[in-house]
Symmetry: C2
Subunit: 508 residues, 2 copies
């Protein structure tokens, strides 16, 4: 980055090439980069910092709803997978498998795997099988229920076409696993955790979502019911932002999770699982990023305010730095949602224009620039990352400090509203037949930032065979939204009578 | 656990069989249990809760000293290890190796590994090689230094003789990795992080440590200098509680981490690494556990106070529960070190005696028992876990609430002082020759709780060959303590003149 400001900090722009823009912004925002290891990524300081904020808030919500954190082994014996046929079919093609436990030098002095394991171990793609095994030991009686646990962990899915943050061979996530006495309790848990996710994604990530249920073809392998939240990215594609599964007796039977009921009978427990991952960092980028870089919602920003001192050769450097230190100290006494503001004073020895652009690209919500003139005038110069078009704002020092929390709240809401407006614009509800449907999704071979494609909300008769018509378009049913009008209409795929509305879209 | 109080909650006791006591207390305290997967453990709610408190405090310390969190891939290509000969030699025998990326059904319908990888991947035993690879890309100029990063992660070392919490095939840890311009800066970082560790272990874990340097034979594979903190367990054995390594140019050369210096020359960076793991949960158990279970230091306890309502058949249940809820609310307004107290009201539907013993075994610092009589008398009945011999204490409600933080501080100090007194008693400094040394360590084939063995602090000449004499005793040199008297004396192994004192002990 040189001192000459480019027209846009990210090139190509979203309109020029959305997919390449995505690769560039992920890197430029210091969120992540691909590593030398095939399909794997490095989460960098700023991106990982956002993930830490996400973890903190989600973890609080999980604990408030009665869940406790555990940690289970990453290694799952192959035999555990053989017990649940649907589950293994769903994951078998993308599993990393450990077969040896040491390296030895061969005759040519080359290191080779040695010490073959009696039973190969699968690196967990998800932990239903291994946690089910433990639950079967821990649960004896209805008094041991509900068992409500969660784990923060890395998981592995061997992706053939990796895409940074969205599809990588390894990613970080949390997975909740619970066991209950009854179907109703387990379904209530499944719904409750979907609500927890939806609140978090909307209120903290500032990403509007549609809550709904997956159709059978899109369910988690082994689930009876999969609930999900779906978000729209800036190319109109859908991204599944979180899922919550009612697993019925599938894993209770394959793992033998049984308990003595209140009436003395032996019953299978009803289990659930639900998860959210670092994939959400990708959703954040594709919802709020623009051609100058990221915009991180204030509630998730590792630093909500960044102070850049303007130091010219003739500036009174010590005086400016001392002033900035004091400004930082004063801002640290202010709050957002009752928590102290997170403030960074960027003291690096590089030009202040470079620093400013660095934080614009990262998406710090407020970037302050403080030079000798601002100090003399008792002013704070600041840029709202969400309103770059307003340019630099000047405010009295004391007024700015007192308003800082309120400005951040305003940015949080503005980001949500902008994302909601975008989605509203590209959520189509007036497509009623196949001709219109096909024409809508055929406009381009692929979605784009400027293209008109997004979500189509329309009636579907529920006939699985009809889904074959969607394949050539690369479109899938994202979910059956919870809010339904209940009116009878016509299936957009078959022309048959249909009552239920679903969301159709291309998806990540 | 039945209502009849056993003589000791953990059987066997430490004196009866220390090693078996350890297995029992880890399980009884709900810290961890072995999983069905060979050599792997499950961290359970209470143990993982302690780890969360440890993480929180350590993470704060790392950030205060300028480090940022990243996340690097768990998969390390085999070729990365080939670059640093010493490093690979140190870890080759205990590596989990991924060789395939999917499962397929064979002719008999059995799942078998398929999709062989072109290059096997090692599950990280530590991340110097993969982080070094990234650093070589990120570091170009002295302006990019120092680079101070940390990661929280799982690592794998294939242990032939697993021991819960101490040696497992997978464990959780943090690993700091830094790069610097000069030797002096890197050494200062190595020492600083050792100090951070020592402060944490002493002030938070209430475990006294000896700070020192490892002798050459005990260094981390690839390190130039390894600093460590050593703690004494209740059988007199040493446990290495944290290490900080100055890596010199070892990894800078094998990973090619070079930078343009202030004078324009191309130089290799000086790197460091330092780590602490869930092994510390084992150290906590073996320092503070007794024959009734664990004692968790208040600063690390997931709940510092647990309220057990005493509900008999004729008790006014609603009134007692309401009173306990209010007591909890009032205690939540009190603080320890400026943080709100962590309070649990145990409302489970099991006998209150069972609840009391459950929390005694887990080691909650203060267990409160509240019945109708206590409410009538405005009293709080409480047990200090560190002073079970004092029995139950009764205190006026208001007084107790106001003092709760102070009592917890007192417990924190009492635990440290007890551990220090134990170590002082079993740290021997008057052994001056081989005969006395051999006799001291020969008393038993193994250490024990009642045995006299512990640490021997004595002069050693530094001759590596002399270490062979220690092997039959199973004793090693734990460290060269930083505090040295500098007096010339006689080497306890060879009888030669020696100035340097070292710590000899059996170790975990």
């Amino acid at each position: 980055m040189n001192a000459k400001t480019p027209k846009t900090a990210i090139s190509p722009t979203r309109a020029e090439n959305y997919s390449e823009w995505y690769q560039k912004i992920v890197r430029a925002s210091d969120f992540a980069e691909l590593s030398g290891v095939r399909g794997c990524q490095i989460l960098k300081a700023w991106g990982y910092g956002v993930w830490e904020q996400m973890q903190r808030d989600l973890d609080r919500r999980f604990k408030e709803t009665g869940h406790e954190n555990y940690y289970f082994p990453i290694y799952i014996p192959l035999s555990y997978f053989q017990r649940e046929a649907e589950h293994v079919d769903g994951f078998a093609k993308e599993m990393a498998i450990v077969t040896h436990h040491r390296l030895t030098k061969n005759a040519e002095g080359k290191l080779v795997p040695d010490g073959e394991l009696e039973e190969p171990l699968v690196i967990r793609p998800t932990s239903e099988t291994i946690i089910g095994e433990a639950m079967s030991k821990w649960i004896q009686s209805y008094r041991d229920l509900p068992l409500l646990l969660n784990q923060w962990a890395n998981v592995s899915r061997w992706e053939m076409r990796p895409r940074i943050l969205l599809r990588t061979a390894e990613f970080l996530w949390q997975e909740g696993h619970t066991a209950h006495e009854t179907h109703d309790e387990a379904m209530a848990e499944t719904k409750k955790m979907l609500d927890v996710y939806a609140e978090f994604v909307q209120d903290y990530m500032a990403v509007p979502v549609i809550k709904g249920e997956k159709i059978a073809a899109e369910r988690f392998p082994g689930a009876v019911t999969t609930l999900c939240i779906e978000a729209m990215m800036q190319d109109g594609r859908a991204l599944q932002a979180g899922t919550s599964h009612y697993l019925g007796h599938s894993f209770a039977k394959s793992c033998n999770i049984q308990f003595q009921s209140r009436t003395g009978t032996l019953e299978f427990a009803h289990t659930t699982s639900w998860g959210m991952s670092t994939r959400l960092l990708g959703a954040l980028v594709m919802t709020h990023g623009d051609d100058n870089g990221m915009k991180v919602p204030p509630r998730l920003a590792p630093y909500q305010l960044v102070i850049v001192p303007i130091l010219r050769d003739d500036s009174p450097k010590d005086e400016i730095m001392a002033y900035c230190e004091q400004l930082k100290a004063d801002l640290l006494c202010e709050t957002l949602d009752g928590n102290p503001l997170r403030v960074k004073l960027d003291g690096r020895d590089i030009p202040s224009t470079d620093k400013r652009w660095d934080w614009i690209k990262k998406g710090a919500p407020l970037v302050l620039e403080i030079g000798a003139k601002d100090i003399a005038n008792h002013k704070v110069c600041f840029t709202r990352r969400d309103k770059m078009e307003d340019g630099k704002n000047f405010e009295d020092r004391a007024t700015f400090i007192g308003n800082a929390g309120a400005i951040l709240t305003d940015i949080q809401h503005a980001l949500y509203n902008a994302a909601l407006a975008f989605r509203t614009q590209r959520l189509v509800t007036n497509i009623k037949d196949w001709a219109a449907f096909e024409s809508y999704f055929s406009k381009d071979a692929d979605n784009s930032f400027t293209g008109g494609q997004g979500f189509v909300r329309a009636k579907w008769c529920g006939d699985d065979a009809s889904l074959a018509k969607l394949e050539p378009l690369g479109v899938t049913v994202r979910c059956i939204p919870f809010d339904q009008d209940g009116q009878e209409g016509t299936c957009v795929l078959t022309g048959q009578p249909a009552t239920q509305e679903v969301i159709f879209a291309r998806a990540y």
